[in-house]
Symmetry: D3
Subunit: 287 residues, 6 copies
């Protein structure tokens, strides 16, 4: 398919209403899953972030850990114990988690944005005391330094946005009542940060096309859901497993003032742009 | 040809380097010719202006008069005298010129931009004393209130740009030494204003594809010319007639600090976008 | 009468309390009537505006059309139809109205202020989407593009005031629901703009000394009236004819937050200064 | 002579060019002589200061001591010694001088301005370390705490002007090399402060009409003098006695960047206004 | 006792929590008593003020008169009449009071601060119309120009604090309804100013260790008192005589929004620092 | 030794001149050595940083790696090769270096400052493209991702200082010409950053008392050295080994505009405070 300049210009013009709509608004992108591993997808996400930033969107990137944490644990010969399927995060594990999240993944994302011509700044929940947390019990059991957010202070995010940087946030928090650091679920942190920033959109990059009636059938994707619909879908067992905490984060964000939350497919290149700059949108929108 | 969202996103991404390049820069567009008459072209120019403004370009529109001046003169039964092919602009004619330029065409452009969701402001050389002029003789003969710019003060353009408006300028000037108003050639005014603003680009919308060795053969278009080339082409008679004042405006703008001047084809929809947001460019660039 | 410097200084000193009183306050002057035709009166109004601006008053000028619209209609051979004494404003008429108001009268006022050493900027209801309107029916009949204001956005007035310009406003509006432009009664627009700006004063320049019990006897001028008095005077038929819409504009302005509205005699040179900078005031004050 | 509002307005309008000329400019007034004693003259000076301030002039008042210092010295029974006609300022005398200047005269002027509706602030050379001085010898003799300015820091004058106050300065200085305070000649301090502020005008209020060829004949007043003229007039003995230091202050101010210095008659009410707001001016202008 | 650098650093570090606590907060110090007479104490107070200012405290100094007023009255041979132990302040006395307070004591404090390397500015209740007052009757009797504050305008204090100066205030006020100046009790003025500034602390420097059950026994000092305690102590006659107006000022300040008021011993060097920068505090705190 | 409040206040007062001297100035602290390992020393350094920040110093912390890098390499079973005593930094090693520096040590320092009540922000040379580097050869041999700084952009340091944060910088750089990250010697990076910031002081925390004639004899400490002295001492072999690069960094910083560089003993608690806030200073000053 050969596109000449004229066709391209028309496509550009089609995005105009979306550009105008999101100018000066805040969009929080939770970056994770395959889009963090595959090189091509990685570049596509960075390009989407930069394009949004260029057309006046205040983009905040919140990232998770991916498989690199497990790799590093393996490399240091740390064996993991599990409680109900959740890894117990002892002090040694937490040290590795913090290093990989804030020292490796975070800086790699910052570096990619920098090299594409925008200024990024790597932050964590520790910087500027952004996130405070306390120990989170899993089914009543202590699984170590896994935290639940108790306080969110987005001053440092707003300061760096106003200075013209794209803030990239890794979700490690300071202990509210102790001197430990805690690992925080990135979806959950993104939701809390988006809420505090009164963001226009929270976008969760996942490895599925969205919320589907039948996960094996893409045609059953539900494009728009209200919190109440979600409640029903959870009762009916349609939303289940790993999707539950994700939709919960979305619903909570909406309840605390975020305009729209999106669960989209990070495996499709430029899915963020498709969501933000076109009519159809992609994935599931919760609003 | 059916384009899905993915293809569209890729096209959007292709424009990224250009968006980054012109962010915060000033581009002066001289709007005239067929693009001012044909409804579809008109909309296409407005869309181009708005898109540039949305991605952070400081756009200044300078417009000419087009056939509406002649129409109005005809309607008031004013017969025109000519000296060497130039219309003599007596007081009555000047009154009509001012009304049509600043009261009709200017407000129509402002209105189109407003309705597309950006704030525009109509200015003339009279507002904020932007343009001062003295009488211009044509081959030694007085042809009335046709002026030559003696002073340019772009404060009002910068003030309104900084307040977030798109300034739309009609090229009527105050007399430097008398109480008359003067009609100013719009190419010439655009060139002077671009120079004073130290603009990144001056774009002249014309009714030809650019500067061609053989005007009847599009394949002889010269994409890039240096002032010296132009000097030679004028000597050789390749550049002649109505194209001469246009290239002179471009050369003068370059000499006074504008980075690049462009003569492009206003008859092609979105030719401005094609010039600004792609590698190939369109028309002739003088730099 | 010979006045030496000492006497002059004393007169200057007498104005001190008024200068202090209106420093930084907004005064909206509706400029129209004879003061727009007679050259001497014209200069006197401009001087008054400039003096107020120099002593720190934020002056906004709103102007009407005067006889120039009729002249131009005559020149283009446009015959006017009337409904109950009001001219039917068809599309062709509206085009002329817009051109004369925004392209001739407006620019002439701007030019006069500029030449007196202050910076003015010509605006219309179209610029910055200041005025939105819908069709106004006259006794149930469609009389064309005569509009009723539906929305007032004074951002552009405040932006240009803050940039140090004297805004001069011609009262043409954008259609709220269509793509037409509408002619707006200037008294009415001035009242609406003054209200939105929370102006200290709205001053209507008229061709009468003020509101009089007996229009043929200047000694029956009523200097101060409350909205209630006006209600009674209208009931009693003392206020009638063309004066009714003027007092209605004043009363509405007062109701929406303007401190004082004045109907003064534009045929007396410097009547604005006399009103603003002396104890006695002139004309009728509604408060 | 009865002046109606119309005549008054015309007089007001006559001042327009002067108001426009001095808008935002700095004028330093040295206040002293009879204008500090006579109640009517006092009020007239205060009115002049306030009017200038209202029309946008940055007025700085520098005042001398007048007869109140002698009165207070008499009241405390302090006898004065003299050296070549100059009072010896011992520590006790200096204490009285400082109290009268900064505690009585200064506060009385501030109080008068405050009560007329503008905010004034009393300063001395001590506040914000505005003036530093060293001992000045009189014909080689030590006459006590009479100082010569060694350093001028007008930060505090500019800060308070920018905060909207009229600074009123009494001319007591801090010792550059010791812990004493010094009395400074007010003409001299005003000249130094005006120079540092790059003032538009320095106005010295005196008890004579200006510089005259024959002091007994008002018709011999010289309206305009260049520094060179003054040099000649001093050589010729036309300028002599107490006038010499005054003209020296003026000449020095001019040399250090003040545009114009004026010696005017403080015994004529509103002589400052007459100088600033009329064509003829009064007294002698040095430029 | 020999202290090496290490010990000194540890002491410095001990003050850290206090420095952090008062950073950017306002502390009003009422300066009076022995600390104004004894040279060593004077220097110690100035050092305390400068240190607080250096570590980010917004310090405002309000001072009283001390014995210098009586001295000057004696020097001018003015005999004082008394009504119930209070000096009758006739016009002549008031003139001396104003001169000594604003012209001597105030400037001496400003001078001391300036010489220690911070910029101070001397203010009185007259400057910027900070304090307005009316006549205060003593037991129904007119005792002259002793005033009661009717209006406090701290704009000038805030302006000069924001410009980086340490304001030093002498407590002379303008008459609210007449053209006199009034002497104001400095404790009372400090209390009112602190309240208007919503100060963190009001510190009254006195010549006693604080409020004591038995004034002759230092060990009976009460470190902390609530307004209610004070009420009881006054009823019981424990707080009596000259201490009553001081505690009343403190209580009133607390009621109007000052966080804490302190009565401390100005005879102990650096008592202000001890209060502000240590845990124990000194004197009596009312909160 | 018991110190009462009075003694403590006197010590506080002694620091006044130093506090005044460094107010608003920038001090870059290179943090490393034992002071990074020993818990007590660690706290002492943090306290010094916070105290400086509280009294208005703009503190920038640049830190090295310490033994944690080696520990982590050991934990992942990475064996190190050496070239002339320098560890070869292959890709895997560099990954660990980056993680430990930016993800562990950096965040631990930020966390300590946060918990002490000031806001810190962790930065690396990657954030905001602060540091660009190219490969550094060791005696002509490629030892991997050890970098030499080619570009320093301190915008992000200044932005975060102006937002009120204490920037903590880990010295990893982006490749200037490739997509790798490089490990940068922290002394060298601190020197470059201090130079770009035109810092008042660069302080290198080391494990020696300073530069000594005889390293085994503390009494041979040289308190002050000029660049020329250092040249001579290097020629004479007095400065040798690991001290050479440190003094080179200091000399280069001085040459590029830093006022003073200090090599001090990080093993002595509060050595930074002792250097900055006392007369004697500690260690060796190069200026």
């Amino acid at each position: 398919m050969v596109l000449n300049n004229i066709n391209k210009s028309e496509i550009l013009i089609e995005t105009l209403p979306y550009i105008q709509k999101f100018y000066g608004k805040t969009i929080v992108v939770k970056y994770g899953g395959n889009a963090m591993i595959n090189e091509e997808l990685k570049n596509s996400v960075i390009e989407d972030i930069i394009l949004m930033s260029c057309v006046g969107v205040k983009v905040v990137v919140v990232h998770g850990g991916g498989p690199e944490i497990s790799n590093m644990l393996k490399r240091v010969g740390k064996e993991s114990k599990f409680v109900n399927g959740l890894r117990v995060t002892d002090a040694e594990t937490m040290e590795i988690v913090q290093m990989v999240l804030t020292g490796k993944i975070n800086k790699d994302i910052v570096s990619l944005i920098d090299r594409s011509g925008r200024k990024a700044i790597g932050l964590s929940g520790i910087d500027g005391e952004m996130l405070k947390a306390k120990k989170k019990l899993q089914d009543g059991q202590d699984i170590g330094f896994v935290g639940e957010i108790t306080k969110v202070n987005v001053d440092i995010v707003e300061d760096t946005l106003n200075d013209g940087y794209i803030p990239v946030v890794s979700t490690v928090a300071l202990g509210e009542d102790d001197y430990n650091t805690y690992n925080i679920n990135a979806d959950y942190a993104a939701s809390k940060i988006a809420a505090k920033l009164k963001a226009e959109k929270l976008i969760l990059l996942t490895d599925v096309p969205g919320i589907m009636r039948d996960p094996s059938d893409d045609s059953t994707l539900m494009s728009e859901l209200k919190p109440h619909d979600i409640h029903v879908l959870k009762m009916d067992g349609v939303i289940k497993g790993g999707m539950i905490p994700k939709v919960d984060c979305c619903v909570e964000a909406i309840r605390e003032g975020v305009k729209r939350a999106h669960i989209i497919d990070g495996r499709v290149p430029h899915s963020i742009l498709m969501e933000v700059f076109s009519d159809q949108g992609v994935g599931t929108m919760i609003y």
